[in-house]
Amino acid sequence: MAHNTSLGQAAGISDDQVEVIGTDDYMESPHLNAREKAAVLWAEHVTRNTARSRDDVFEIVRQQFNEAEIIDLTLICCFFNMFNRVTDSLKMPIEMQSEVDKIKASVNLDPAKVKSYLETVVAKWPQRFPKPAPD
């Protein structure tokens, strides 16, 4: 959570909001608006894998978000379920707070930098690819 609380604060999430998101009472909180509540509710049910059977939950989400937004919402939640599993399983160490705080500079992603990243990847495309190890 360290990185995400840091990036979240830089993005404008208050301490009250961080605290209530971590409880079971967030749907009643005055610190979250209707869209924020629906997003957190979706995150909870996707993470617990109860989303697929809860049409009532999806209805709340659908009232707040269009279809493109629902895709982005579901992908960010699922990406972090994957990434949480990776960091936990490999026991990835949390960085020094000063290093974690550097993430604050990246609330807005510059599309030119993503383009430049992809151009580097293409320009440095490997001549040879590794062969899979024997099974």
């Binding site: 990776v86 490999l90 990243y117």
Partner: protein
């Protein structure tokens, strides 16, 4: 900093070679730093290089996502909290 030792070694960014060095240079240019997690994923640089831009775009605003970084971080905080993840 956590006391626990990573199960897979963290690559020294200055000592990286080959595809891993290329990966770290590209990550540094995009994010301004190489996070610990990528120093570990860098052992498999040709796979990691495909994951990293997806991570950047899906988590943040500005490069295609239709949601704000703020709203998505709320999702990430809930997800990581439920998973009991400290990273």
């Amino acid at each position: 900093m956590s006391e626990s030792k990573p199960r897979v070694s963290m690559i020294d960014t200055e000592a990286a070679t080959g595809d891993t060095a290329i990966l770290f240079d590209a990550v540094r240019a995009m994010l301004g730093r190489v996070p610990n997690s990528y120093r570990i994923l860098g052992h498999s640089p040709l796979v990691a290089k495909m994951l990293i831009p997806f991570n950047a775009v899906v988590q943040r605003q500005g490069a295609g996502s239709v949601l704000s970084t703020k709203l998505k971080e709320m999702v990430v905080i809930k997800t990581s909290h439920l998973n009991g993840c400290k990273y």
